[in-house]
Amino acid sequence: MAKAFKYGLKGITGYLEPAERELLRGLLDDVISMLEPELSGNEDPLTALIGLDMNVKEPSDRALLRLLPNVMKNDDAASLEFRQLTERSLREGKIGALRAAAMGLDRDELVLTREEAKLWSMALNDVRLVLAERLDIRDEADADHVHAMQDWSQAEDVESYLALVYNFTTWLQESLVQAMMASMDRKP
């Protein structure tokens, strides 16, 4: 069984079984592949270099839209313009955090610096946002319903399996955030 993250003399530490690491690695890789921009052959290298993406569109996939939301609630044109300027670097930042967490899983011991812990918490959050969309969590009642799934012997279909995976990543992120808060309390 995984152990909750905690803050102690060595920093922020946690423990995951090999199967849990494998599960988490798969989830991180899934979100990375969602976020990797499609390569278009005729891209202007200069605009790519400065992070512009004039071909970008509002994502049609709800999960991807949740990761890359519109910046204005009722102004699609302004949101799209903002997307052209910022979405590429946002995707890259997210992929960076997800990769950092995936690399951390390769080490025997999970000992995280504060910066690594921050990247882990962001990566776990993005994984949870995607799982929540797949599970159709729209409100607190949906979340409670999913949260009630705690018994792996109940995992009979894809949805109940996803719910258990979601609850596992939720538990892991909560323990990580608590450990990060403890580390903030003890340092200036």
Binding site: F82, T86, L90, N125, D126, Q178
Partner: protein, 128 residues
């Protein structure tokens, strides 16, 4: 938002609004230097059933440098009222905050202060 293993246990008080904020906020909030047209934009964080209450508070503390008390107060406002204005200032500054919030996975939008009933005044603002 959601809470699982350990709910946020910290008592929410107004202590953070009475001077606990870290100094980098007040130093950079010299709104007099901004032109009037640049001022009235709000950064809004919206509630969702996924983000952990503790994580949202952590983001407010670590990114904006807000005190724990102020961060919890804003987080609870998001949770209970569905949204909260967590920073305000010039358009570009607020947009920069929004993209940072998206990086953390929070659901953030920007809006003109006048477009919402609870727009805040010109004083203060978040980190530049």
């Amino acid at each position: 938002m959601t809470t699982t293993v350990a709910p946020v246990t910290n008592t929410v008080t107004d202590a953070g609004l009475k001077g606990e904020e870290r100094t980098d906020i007040s130093e950079q909030s010299s709104t007099d230097l901004l032109s009037a047209a640049d001022i009235p934009w709000n950064l809004v964080i919206w509630n969702d059933p996924v983000n952990l209450m503790s994580y949202v508070s952590y983001v407010f503390q670590s990114y904006f440098g807000y005190s724990e008390a102020k961060s919890n107060k804003l987080m609870l406002e998001v949770h209970k009222k569905g949204r909260s204005i967590v920073a305000y200032g010039g358009k570009e500054q607020v947009e920069q905050h929004a993209v940072a919030m998206h990086g953390y996975g929070l659901w953030a939008t920007v809006e003109k202060a006048s477009s919402s009933g609870d727009g805040r005044g010109r004083k203060g603002g978040a980190r530049g």
